[in-house]
Symmetry: D2
Subunit: 151 residues, 4 copies
């Protein structure tokens, strides 16, 4: 399976006075999935730091479709759609997990938001673009899915 | 002047372990500018609620150019580039304010990030698209700048 | 076991420019544990709302002992030390989970912070104190530990 | 005047699904006031870093009295009640600013929450307690108010 995913619960901290998840916070959920994906491949925040680099978000776009509410259980996905020398592109979705007993999920019907996130590797000192360390790039490569219409 | 702006300081709460502003938090700064823009036009969160509607972010894209750090003073701009029946599009920038004594700002050189945010008016009950109340739409209209290449 | 606990990972979103977890965010972790504790007893945010009440934090104190860092795995505990008519008191700790292979945890050596949180039940309309609904109070009662020196 | 204060507006980002400011976020407002107080005395986050130290919150307690809501304007105060060799204690309040035209504020009637925060100076490397640099300690000293019942 090329799509990585984690589950999470929505807590009061994630919500706002409109009674739904504050739209900015979906991006935090998405980063948790990217981080766990990287960890699943054998790398973490500190292992990259030891190579004098770190990953930063270069650009992103998000399309909000339906809101999540407190108590909801959600699935956060991350799929690598492009691995380049100094950056990697993720396609991510947040989907509502229906409580047991309700009809089976129609994946498209339950997508709450969808995002494309371009993550760049930069030098910790200068902040300049840096080539992704080979063992990380190789791991990304084995997980990269070609998607039609990728930017 | 069609561009609305506010100033803010960067605090520890805004930063992350990379020593810079956590990229998600720029979106909070941008919302503060949109909210104050709306307030400047005579409307606030609660005045819209009394009309059984509220504004939600429909979609956004962000391009991160340079990071801000704790103690930095920043300018957050908001310009309306399109007003439609049920939504409005903002172009927003966050710019570093140079300390007094440093050479005058080159606006382009100091842009930290740039975003396009589409904000939709929805019915508070159903969450369905709702026509922007006329007095708010009129106020937006008087502040709308036509920008070449607007989506 | 009277102590309820959940595990969590520390992400970049939780950290600050000092390279550690931003001290305010430990309180979010603690609320997640209280919420999951309540859910484990059969109640959630929305079930309480249907009774026209909700829980709010009345007061809290926190003692910070050692910092957590990005990538750390932590255990967040919640123990009920008092159940009264309109409020409940939790004692909570956040402990560092040592990676496998390191010597066994000395519970006291690994406590990162410790908090006492008094949570009150209030009427959703007026915000006035409200008697905790009996089935919730009974569930709290079965989980209440008498602790010497409790306030 | 020994009490330092800043004003702020409450934004959607500060609120939660209960329609009020998420209780954890009051602590962020309080830190902004402490930071601006320090800046007003001539010191900032980076000036302390250059002395190989930084300030961390050692412990705090908060008493929540009344909630703030989106659009509210609030006053955040900070008063130094004790300056010791390696730490400083602040008494802080958040007060609702009544809209013009309403009756004059009764300071006690408008207190939304009150907190005591003990801030310690620690060595950036080891995290061990560090003596507050003399010029900062002196500045704190001139602003320290003796309060009966201070811990």
């Amino acid at each position: 399976m090329m799509e990585f995913s984690i589950k999470s619960r929505v807590y009061l901290e994630d919500s706002d006075a409109q009674g739904i998840v504050y739209y900015v916070n979906y991006l935090k959920f998405m980063e948790r999935a990217r981080t766990d994906f990287l960890r699943d491949l054998g790398f973490d925040f500190q292992s990259l730091q030891s190579q004098k680099g770190h990953f930063v978000v270069h650009s992103l776009d998000v399309r909000y479709l339906k809101p999540a509410k407190v108590d909801d259980e959600i699935l956060i996905t991350a799929t690598i759609t492009k691995t380049a020398r100094t950056y990697v592109v993720f396609l991510q979705e947040i989907r509502l997990i229906k409580p047991p007993g309700e009809e089976p999920n129609d994946p498209n019907a339950d997508v709450l938001c969808r995002s494309q996130v371009k993550v760049a590797c930069v030098s910790s000192g200068s902040g300049k673009p840096m080539v992704i360390p080979p063992q990380i790039a190789d791991a990304f490569q084995t997980k990269t899915v070609s998607i039609q219409g990728d930017r």
